[in-house]
């Protein structure tokens, strides 16, 4: 009898031990001491956290070349936008050292800077022992570098600068008798009306309108900026500007445009849906991130490759387009600065950036040499390059509130215009309510 109990207890204990043995997973792998020589960091490993998009996936795919050369193991954690944004701030704020390098855009950087979760990289750039002259940091477009900087210090390396342009289906334009792209928003509305033929399953325009991830705010801001909107310029209460004329006008325009000339189900459109609707020649035009261009020109997925027109609708003032910048940043708590910097240099080198542009992974290289390279000129039409450069030139990096409460303000905006579009509230009421919330948020 005794033996049976002991056996039973013993089995249970063994099971528990086995199960608990599976628990012993730390978040950081052990680091052997760096060896001297050509590959000083061989054998070490870093972890990179990126959002799921074509260019970052390309980096992931090409990294084995880097690993072979340097002996550094690179682990990737990649998440789609909806899961990426909360995880970025959650992980960095916990200071657990989960990630060494992260991708982030100017929507998140204010939080990163304010929280002290990323570190300035000037000390690496300016140290000749860590950075060879051929890397040439000055090559990066200054405006983009400014967006990745804070209080005069450079924190990140811009990897993907973009802006919004108009993209339209030249064939559908010609069929409707439209010779040239619209010069302003009123013409855009008139064009949309002319191109809207639901009986043929062709629709006037598509813009991002989905509430998920606050993506509708992005397209709304594009319209708003053309109408002269700004979060801070000339505002007595910065950021609480949603009840002012440009914002109200923008919402009226945005709602009217989509309501009358958008495809069915427009309220769920995110940028993938917009892209596909254009590729399938279901919708004739859009204003969106110029990065959509390469995808529209890709014959393997787009029916309208080669028939796309590019144009910038000018707005008031100097900064009338959005200027989102995606960059790579080094976490403040990383213990692997050396290997992380090595990878950063490789990922943002002239060769890699040009390769990304050549293979259509990014439409706008962040290095001047990229734009001037032969590969780029051969790949993209002059019309596209001109429109892109013009848009980037007038890009406002603060198209999204660059303060820690930024994401929340974007969310408030997103809900308001979503309500306006779905007629849950009148435009005035929705915008006023949103503005009141922002005031409260900022303690005005």
């Amino acid at each position: 009898m005794r033996r049976r109990t002991t056996a039973a207890v013993g089995t249970v204990v063994v099971f528990l031990l086995v199960a608990s043995g599976l628990f012993a997973t730390g978040t950081q792998e052990a680091q052997p001491a760096p060896a001297a020589g050509a590959n000083p960091y061989a054998g070490q490993s870093i972890t990179v956290f990126m959002i799921d998009a074509a260019n970052w996936r390309a980096l992931e795919a090409w990294t084995p070349e880097f690993e072979a050369k340097s002996g550094i193991k690179v682990n990737f954690d990649i998440l789609p936008e909806k899961a990426f944004l909360p995880k970025l701030t959650l992980s960095l704020s916990s200071r657990a050292g989960e990630y060494d390098v992260v991708s982030a855009n100017n929507r998140s950087t204010p939080q990163l800077f304010a929280g002290g979760w990323v570190q300035p990289i000037g000390k690496f750039i300016n140290d000749p022992k860590m950075t060879e002259a051929s890397y040439n940091f000055a090559d990066f477009i200054p405006g983009l570098v400014r967006t990745c900087s804070y209080q005069g210090e450079v924190y990140g390396i811009p990897m993907q600068g973009s802006s919004n342009i108009m993209m339209y289906n030249k064939e559908m334009y010609a069929a409707a008798g439209l010779a040239s792209p619209p010069k302003n928003l009123d013409e855009l509305m008139a064009y949309a009306k002319k191109l809207h033929m639901p009986e043929k399953e062709q629709y006037g325009i598509a813009l991002r309108a989905s509430r998920e991830g606050g993506t509708n705010g992005f397209s709304w801001i594009m319209i708003w900026k053309i109408l002269g909107g700004s979060w801070t310029e000339g505002a007595e209460q910065p950021y609480a500007v949603l009840d002012k004329a440009p914002a109200i006008r923008a919402t009226e325009y945005w709602v009217s445009l989509l309501d009358n000339y958008g495809p069915p189900g427009i309220s769920n459109y995110n940028w993938e849906t917009v892209l596909v609707s254009l590729q399938q020649a279901k919708v004739s035009q859009t204003i969106d991130d110029a990065e959509l261009g390469p995808r529209l020109e890709n014959p393997s997925e787009s029916k309208i490759a080669g028939k796309v027109g590019y144009h910038v609708i000018e707005g008031r003032g100097d900064k009338y387009t959005v200027g989102p910048v995606w960059g790579l940043f080094m976490a403040a708590d990383t213990k692997n600065q050396g290997p992380a910097w090595e990878w950063l240099k490789w990922a943002t080198s002239k060769e890699t950036i040009i390769r990304l542009a050549k293979e259509g992974k990014i439409g706008g290289p962040t290095r001047s040499s990229g734009f001037q390279s032969e590969e780029y000129r051969n790949k993209y039409s002059k019309e596209y390059a001109d429109a892109f450069l013009k848009a980037m030139d007038h890009g406002d990096p603060e198209y999204s509130p660059l303060i820690p409460q930024g994401p929340q303000i974007r969310e408030i905006l997103s809900i308001a215009i979503s309500k306006a579009l779905s007629k849950q509230a009148t435009i005035e009421a929705a915008m006023k309510e949103a503005n009141d919330q922002i005031k409260k948020l900022l303690n005005y």
Binding site: L90, A114, G265, S267, N268, K419, S422, Q424, Q437
Partner: protein, 295 residues
Amino acid sequence: MYRSYEGSDKTTFYLMIGVPFFLLVILTVGPLLYSAFYISLTNWNLSMVAERRFIGLGNYAEMLGNPEFWNSIFNSFYQVFGTLALQLVIGMGMALLLARPMRGMQVVRSIYLIPMMATPVVVGQVWRMLYTPDLGLLNYFLSLVGLPGPDWLGNPKIAMLSVILTDVWLTTPFVTMILLAGLISLPGEPYEAARVDGASGLQMFTRITLPLLRPVISLAAMFRIMDGFRRFDTIYVMTSGGPGNATETLNLHTYNHGFVFLNTGYAAALSTMMLLIIFGFTLFLILRIQQSESV
């Protein structure tokens, strides 16, 4: 001789209950109290840690004055009780059908249970696909009978109904099973007597079945209310609380504030409020049930 074992018995029992209980207390009560009595009384924001300070009931005051909060309360109640009403009716119907003697009833019953077990996230995805306006199955079937297919998840007036429908699909089997158990254990005599008296099927149902089943129905309702307030996965996957905030229940509202905006303090206050509401409600229900049973 038996009595002398009482002593060691007690220790054993204390250990057996104590160990898991201790674990649960640390992992549930502990965090709950920490959240309610500390975090919710600060203005803690995970991204602005330096400014953390004690603000007493400030979060609660702000919450009660915030229309978004009341909207999420309304949505939660709408979702829970909307689902409950449909489930009780459909569940009762299915229970009546499944209580009949039929060949292969075992198999039929086990097949019926399947939706209950499916992973809620997967269920959310499936229904999201079904609800797609121009490419989804639902609107296709509607078009076959000549009806226009609405934008199930994009139209704020019916988005919540769509969410409720998915929930009903997911959890009605549970309600059915409980009601079925009750049905099967009903005594036969009242029905014999009623048949002799010439009562119709409907009369027997309303005058005998329903009253006798009241405790079982209350039990099912209680379980479903408890579970209903916890519903997160399906809504998160299908609408994330949209369009606007038409489907933003208290659960999602708290998640957004806590994990997206990182307003830890405010979110803790929201959670505490949510727990108070649910506990209060369920307690109220339990007392009502006990009262009616003792009558």
